[in-house]
């Protein structure tokens, strides 16, 4: 209620103005106190884990809230080798890159067709794609598991990548369709009048204009893949192929008595995604809210 209110007090008597200002100040101070309180509640777990990751079990036991001095780098080293983070992390990157590439490429094509091209069956395809948006993965997990087994991709990286891509396509197609519909038709028409084929119109004229939509979709798919849990839980049964979020579950189960080691695993899981989030914050928030408003 700050800036717009400031013009009002002029009409009030001076004394009222002073007490009004005091009240405003108190309000602002209270608001800040609350905000900082919440900031602490949201950050304390991270600080706790970060400090534990650099302490030995004995250091933690001696002073659970003390600073990690001297820092114990062993935890990180052990989580990396013993805890298989040297495999979990590259796995996650491979999954994310592959799924983003697949989802973005295929969604661009189908989204464009659904938005801009005329063909029999278009409305039916649109309706069928709705199924994938409405239905949770749980509804599909059982047949998907046996399908992956029968296709012999269950124990491989493809066993994660292909279903994850397929599952991302319905939202991707919807997002890209909406984006292509928002572009002015005249641009495409101008290119057509100049004699361009539909493929040329798509590739040279429309696709470059769709870049912001693609960036949002890429961010969304990245987050979905990085944080995927049930999908790899069902489809990725070999430890050396697990992504970080699933790997962390088994890692914490295996080394449950060693807090420093567990904390190191947590750090390996969350620090990369937090860094990407901070770098691309606006896109992240856009991506997640676009996902919600689908």
């Amino acid at each position: 209620m700050g800036t717009t209110a400031r013009s009002l007090p002029r009409t009030r008597p001076v004394t009222a103005d002073r007490s009004w200002r005091l009240r405003q100040r108190l309000l602002a101070a209270g608001r800040y106190a609350l905000l900082i309180g919440f900031l602490v509640v949201f950050l304390v777990p991270f600080v706790w884990y970060a400090s534990m990751a650099l302490k030995t079990e004995r250091q933690i036991a001696a002073s659970p809230f003390g600073l990690p001095i001297p820092p114990a780098w062993d935890n990180l080293e052990q989580a990396w080798t013993l805890g298989r983070y040297s495999q979990y992390l590259p796995n996650t990157v491979v999954y994310a890159v592959a799924v983003i590439a697949g989802v973005c490429t295929f969604s661009c094509l189908s989204g464009y067709a659904l938005a801009r091209l005329t063909f029999p069956g278009r409305n039916l395809m649109f309706l069928l794609l709705l199924v994938g948006i409405t239905v949770p993965f749980q509804s599909l997990m059982i047949p998907t598991y046996y399908l992956a087994r029968d296709l012999n991709i269950l124990g491989t990286r493809l066993g994660m990548i292909v279903p994850a891509t397929a599952f991302g396509l319905s939202f991707g197609s919807f997002l890209m369709r909406a984006f292509f519909r928002g572009l002015p038709e005249e641009i495409a028409d101008a290119a057509r009048v100049d004699g361009g084929s539909e493929w040329r119109v798509f590739r040279d004229v429309m696709l470059p204009l769709a870049r912001p939509g693609l960036a949002t979709l890429a961010t969304f798919s990245f987050l979905e893949t990085w944080t995927a849990f049930l999908l790899p839980l069902v489809l990725v049964q070999r430890d050396e192929l697990r992504p970080v979020s699933l790997g962390l579950l088994f890692f914490t189960g295996r080394y449950s008595s060693d807090r420093g080691l567990i904390a190191a695993g947590v750090m390996f899981t969350i620090v990369p995604i937090i860094l990407v989030y901070i770098a691309l914050q606006r896109k992240f928030i856009e991506g997640i809210t676009a996902g919600a408003l689908k």
């Binding site: 717009t4 919440f38 949201f42």
Partner: protein, 305 residues
């Protein structure tokens, strides 16, 4: 729907006939193949599996008709699980949306440090529910968890309780973690909504002597009504489908005290190899998800008019 722009403008007289773009099928091909195989087929297959008593290993699947669905009705664990989903809908939604709205109101006027606050409040969203669950499982852990240590250090006996290990507190403890993680999501959406609230109306109410609470109740909230509806439906869908955070923290235990339909169907399908019955359970989830989504689609259709 096809060429709305052709109706007017330069091209109006010389419109091409509505031509079929055959190339569209090439555009659709990869999506149709992958989607049919890994979404549409499993969607249909779930239903047909739910009519069998398959155990996942045998080559024979006996058709049992709607037997599994009859069993669903008498399944006490399912009833417990659905009750927890219902609790989740009420407490989880109210808590998450309430906290998110409070946070949004606190930073509405972009105080100094706005970007920091927004970044931190939204942070749990990017970790994923499973990782949030694992982090909180260790925070609640007796003897070695954060809360226990805080209880030791500052002598607060209440905090030394094994929250996840007791049937009375486990669900509440998971819900608290879920609210902590979910608030940032509602915060961002509601904050976007607050940016569109009519400031003149607010000032008018202030001049008329409305208190802060009155302005909130009679000016801000009514203008946000469509967004609240949307956010509520999203929260309800999320409450029905919840799995990751519960599985990561308790796997539905102890003694089914945190069981939700998502964890129950996973357990039946992959730990107890009761595939036919699990498929019937997932059909219940599908039906509920479609029901709530239908409401959402209708609401959105009405809003877009």
């Amino acid at each position: 729907m096809a060429y709305p722009m052709r109706q007017r403008g330069l091209l109006s007289g010389i419109t091409r006939p509505r031509r079929v773009n055959w190339i569209a099928y090439l555009f659709m091909l990869p999506t149709v193949v992958l989607y049919s195989l890994f979404v549409l087929y499993p969607f249909v297959a779930s239903f047909s599996l739910s009519l069998t008593d398959w155990n996942g290993a045998d080559s024979v699947r006996t058709f049992v008709g709607f037997d599994n669905y009859v069993r669903l009705v008498r399944d006490g664990v399912l009833r417990t699980a659905l009750t927890h989903n219902l609790v989740w809908m009420v407490v989880g939604s109210a808590g998450g949306i309430g906290l998110g709205f409070l946070l949004a109101l606190l930073v509405w006027h972009r105080p100094r440090g706005f970007v920091l606050f927004r970044t931190v409040f939204f942070l749990p969203q990017v970790l994923g529910a499973a990782v949030v669950g694992i982090i909180w499982k260790l925070i609640y852990r007796p003897y070695k968890g954060l809360l226990y240590e805080l209880g030791e250090t500052f002598d607060i006996p209440f905090l030394r309780f094994p929250f996840l290990g007791e049937t009375t507190t486990a669900l509440g403890a998971i819900l608290a973690a879920a609210i902590w993680a979910g608030a940032g999501f509602f915060f961002v959406i509601l904050l976007a909504g607050l940016q569109n609230v009519d400031r003149d109306l607010l000032d008018a109410a202030r001049v008329d002597g409305a208190s802060g609470a009155q302005r909130l109740r009679h000016v801000v909230v009514p203008q946000l009504a469509p967004i609240f509806t949307l956010v509520l439906v999203l929260a309800l869908i999320g409450s029905l489908n919840v799995f990751d955070i519960v599985w990561a923290m308790t796997e539905g235990g102890p003694a089914n005290s945190t069981e939700v339909i998502g964890t129950y169907s996973y357990t039946k399908a992959f730990l107890e190899s009761n595939v036919g019955y699990a498929a019937a359970l997932t059909m219940v989830m599908t039906a509920l998800a479609i029901g709530v989504s239908a409401v959402l689609i209708r609401i959105r259709a009405r809003q877009e008019v």
